[in-house]
C-alpha cells in the first residue's frame, strides 16, 4: 500500500468536484485507462496471431467463372483436404480491385481474380509480393447491347453509355482497349463514349431501366442481360483472342503466404486441379453446387438455364494462358493503369518444379 500513501497527497489536488459530486480520482482513471488499453492491445495481438497461424483466407466472386472455388467450397472438397491443417475462411467480393486491396492490407491470403487486377496488384504491391499460382478459367465475358440502343458495330458506340465493372478490372481493360482500337476515347478524356464503372448487379438494374446502351460484363450477367432483358450479344470476348482462349480468372496469393505455408498451398492447388477436372466432367452437378452456394450466400440462385448457357461460354483450365496475360499487361499499360515507369512482369508466376503455373 506504500504507493498509495505516496500519491495520496498529490491526489488531493487532483480531485475534480463538479456540482458537489466527487468524480473518480484522475490518477486511477489514467491507470485504469492504461490497463484497458494494454488488455485490448494484447487481446488484439493474440487474435491477429491466431488468425495468421491457423486460418487461410480465400476470396472469390459469386460468378460462374469462379466455379472452381465456389463448387470446391460447396462440395467440401477444400475443407476435406485442407481442413485438418488450417481453418478456411471465405470472403466474397464483387470485383478484382477490391480483392487486391484486401490482399495488400493482409486481410486475405489468396484470391481468384481476373488477370487485370492480378497484374496491377503484382506491380503495385510492396516488393511485388503477389504471385499467380494457376489459371482457373478462360473466356466468359461478352459485349451486350440494349435492344433500343441501335448498336450493331463498334462505330455505333459513339455518344453511348457503356458499362463495365470496376476500373482496371479485366472487362474494363478489354472495353477501353476495344474503344481505343476503334478510334474512340472515353468521356473523361474528352471522348464520346461514357464508360460507367459499376457493379454487375447495378448494371443489370440500369440495363433493365434502359439507362445503359451496352455493357461488357462477365457471365452469368452477360447471359442474363440477353435472356432476361432482351439484350443483343454483339460478341463473346473469346472470339477476339487467338485460339479463342484468354485468361479470365487466375488464382493469386501473397508471396509471403506461399513461402510460409507451402503445404497448404500445394494441397489447395491439388484440389484446384481436381475441381477443374470434375467441373468439366460433370457440368450439371457443378451447376447445382454453384447455385446451392449462391443461394446460401446471396439468398437467391441464378436460373439453371442461365448458368448452363454461361458455362458453355467458359473453359475451365488451370493453364494461366501466359500470353494472354502479357497482352492484358500491354493493354493496361496503354491505358495508363500500370504507373508511369513501364512495367516488368518478372516474378509474376509462382516458381514450380513441374512448370505448372
Amino acid at each position: 500500500m506504500g504507493w498509495r500513501r505516496l500519491v495520496g497527497a498529490k491526489n488531493r489536488l487532483l480531485f475534480i468536484d463538479i456540482g458537489g459530486a466527487k468524480l473518480m480520482k484522475p490518477l486511477y482513471t489514467v491507470v485504469a485507462g492504461a490497463a484497458l488499453t494494454l488488455a485490448v492491445t494484447a487481446w488484439y495481438a493474440a487474435v491477429q496471431n491466431d488468425a495468421e497461424e491457423a486460418t487461410m483466407r480465400v476470396a472469390f466472386f459469386p460468378n460462374i467463372a469462379h466455379a472452381v472455388p465456389v463448387v470446391g467450397m460447396e462440395t467440401g472438397s477444400f475443407e476435406r483436404n485442407i481442413g485438418n491443417i488450417t481453418r478456411l475462411e471465405v470472403r466474397l467480393f464483387d470485383s478484382g480491385p477490391q480483392a487486391i486491396e484486401a490482399l495488400f492490407s493482409g486481410s486475405i491470403d489468396m484470391a481468384y481474380v481476373g488477370p487485370g487486377p492480378a497484374i496491377n496488384g503484382f506491380l503495385k504491391s510492396t516488393d511485388r509480393d503477389i504471385r499467380i499460382l494457376a489459371g482457373a478459367a478462360s473466356g466468359g465475358s461478352s459485349m451486350v447491347a440494349h435492344t433500343d440502343s441501335g448498336i450493331a458495330l463498334a462505330e455505333d458506340l459513339r455518344g453511348k453509355r457503356v458499362a463495365a465493372p470496376q476500373i482496371s478490372n479485366t472487362q474494363d481493360i478489354s472495353l477501353r482497349n476495344y474503344l481505343a482500337e476503334n478510334g474512340m476515347a472515353p468521356a473523361e478524356r474528352g471522348g464520346s463514349v461514357t464508360v460507367l464503372n459499376i457493379a454487375n448487379p447495378d448494371t443489370y438494374t440500369l440495363f433493365a431501366k434502359g439507362e445503359l446502351d451496352a455493357a461488357w460484363v462477365p457471365e452469368p450477367w452477360a447471359t442474363m442481360l440477353v435472356n432476361e432483358l432482351d439484350g443483343q450479344r454483339l460478341f463473346r470476348e473469346e472470339e477476339m483472342w487467338p485460339d479463342g482462349r484468354f485468361a479470365s480468372v487466375v488464382l493469386v496469393a501473397r508471396g509471403q503466404f506461399v513461402e510460409e505455408n507451402p503445404t497448404v498451398v500445394s494441397k489447395w492447388l491439388e484440389v484446384h486441379h481436381s475441381m477443374i477436372e470434375w467441373i468439366n466432367d460433370n457440368p450439371r452437378d457443378a451447376r447445382d453446387s454453384f447455385n446451392r452456394y449462391v443461394e446460401s450466400e446471396l439468398g437467391r440462385p441464378f436460373p439453371d438455364d442461365i448458368i448452363d448457357e454461361s458455362m458453355s461460354n467458359i473453359l475451365f483450365t488451370a493453364d494461366p494462358l501466359k500470353e494472354s496475360i502479357e497482352t492484358f499487361a500491354l493493354r493496361a499499360d496503354g491505358l495508363g493503369y500500370l504507373g508511369r515507369d513501364g512495367y516488368d512482369l518478372n516474378g509474376l508466376y509462382m516458381e514450380t518444379h513441374d512448370g505448372d503455373a
Binding site: P97, K124, T126, I167, E188, E211, G336, R340
Partner: protein
C-alpha cells in the same frame, strides 16, 4: 523586425513540402502508400498530358455552377418567403433547419434512384446541399432589415415585386453574399462527394479511379486540385465580392 505574411507563408509551404519529401525518402512507409511530392507532381503532369484532369475539372465545375445557381435562386425565393410570411417561417422554416443538418452526400442514394447515373443526379445533390444554407442566410438577412426602410418604401407605394427587388434584396445583400459564399462551399463539397459515390466523370471519379488503380499519388494530386479550386474561388471570387459589398454598405 516584422516579417511579411507572404514570406512566412512561403517559408511554411517550402518547409512542409521539404518535410514531406524527406519523410517519403526515409522509407518509413512503402512508396505505394506514401508517395513523395515529386511522385504527385509527376502524376498530375501525366493526367494533364492526357487531358483527363482538365476534363475532370471542367465537368465538376459545370455541375458545381449549375447546382449552385439552382441553390442560389431557390434559397433566395425561399429565404424571402420565410422572412416575410410568419406561417412559412414557423412551418417550412423548421423543416429547412432540419434538412440543413443532413450532409449532402446523404442525398446520394436517393439521387441515384430518382435520377439514375446522370449529371442531373449529381446536380441535385449539389443544389440540395447548398440551398438550405443560402435560405437561412437570406432569411436572417431580410429579417434584420431596419423596419423603417420597409415602412418608408411602403409609404411611397412599393408593393410585391418592387418591394422585393428594390428594397429587400439590396438591404439584405451583405447577408445574401455570406449565404452564397457558404452555399458555394457546401456545393463544392456536395459535387465531389456525389461524384465519388456516383463514380461518373469529374474530379470525384478521378479520385475513385486512383483508389481502384491503387495509385495514391493520383489521389493526393486530385485532392490538391480540389483544395486549390476551393481556395481559389472562395478567396478570389467570394472574399472580394464580400469585401466590396461590406465596404459599400458601410459595414466595414
Amino acid at each position: 523586425m516584422i516579417i511579411p505574411v507572404l514570406v512566412k507563408k512561403v517559408v511554411f509551404y517550402v518547409a512542409l513540402i521539404a518535410g514531406w519529401q524527406a519523410l517519403a525518402m526515409v522509407d518509413v512507409w512503402p512508396e505505394n502508400i506514401f508517395p513523395s511530392p515529386y511522385d504527385v507532381v509527376e502524376d498530375l503532369a501525366y493526367m494533364a498530358s492526357d487531358g483527363s484532369v482538365f476534363h475532370g475539372i471542367g465537368t465538376s465545375l459545370a455541375r458545381l455552377i449549375t447546382g449552385f445557381v439552382i441553390a442560389a435562386a431557390g434559397g433566395l425565393v425561399l429565404g424571402i418567403f420565410m422572412a416575410r410570411i410568419t406561417i412559412v417561417d414557423q412551418t417550412i422554416g423548421s423543416l429547412v433547419l432540419g434538412l440543413q443538418s443532413i450532409p449532402s452526400v446523404a442525398w446520394v442514394p436517393l439521387a441515384i434512384l430518382w435520377f439514375g447515373l446522370t449529371d442531373a443526379g449529381i446536380v441535385f445533390v449539389t443544389a440540395v446541399g447548398a440551398v438550405f444554407a443560402v435560405t437561412i442566410n437570406v432569411s436572417s438577412g431580410v429579417k434584420n432589415i431596419n423596419p423603417h426602410y420597409v415602412e418608408a418604401a411602403r409609404n411611397i407605394g412599393a408593393r410585391g415585386g418592387k418591394m422585393i427587388t428594390g428594397v429587400l434584396i439590396p438591404a439584405a445583400f451583405p447577408y445574401m453574399i455570406s449565404g452564397f459564399k457558404q452555399g458555394w462551399a457546401f456545393a463544392w463539397r456536395g459535387v465531389i462527394g456525389a461524384e465519388l459515390l456516383f463514380s461518373y466523370l469529374g474530379l470525384g471519379f478521378l479520385l475513385n479511379a486512383g483508389r481502384q488503380l491503387n495509385d495514391v499519388s493520383q489521389i493526393i494530386g486530385i485532392m490538391i486540385i480540389i483544395m486549390g479550386i476551393g481556395i481559389g474561388i472562395d478567396g478570389f471570387v467570394f472574399k472580394r465580392l464580400e469585401d466590396r459589398v461590406m465596404a459599400r454598405w458601410g459595414l466595414r
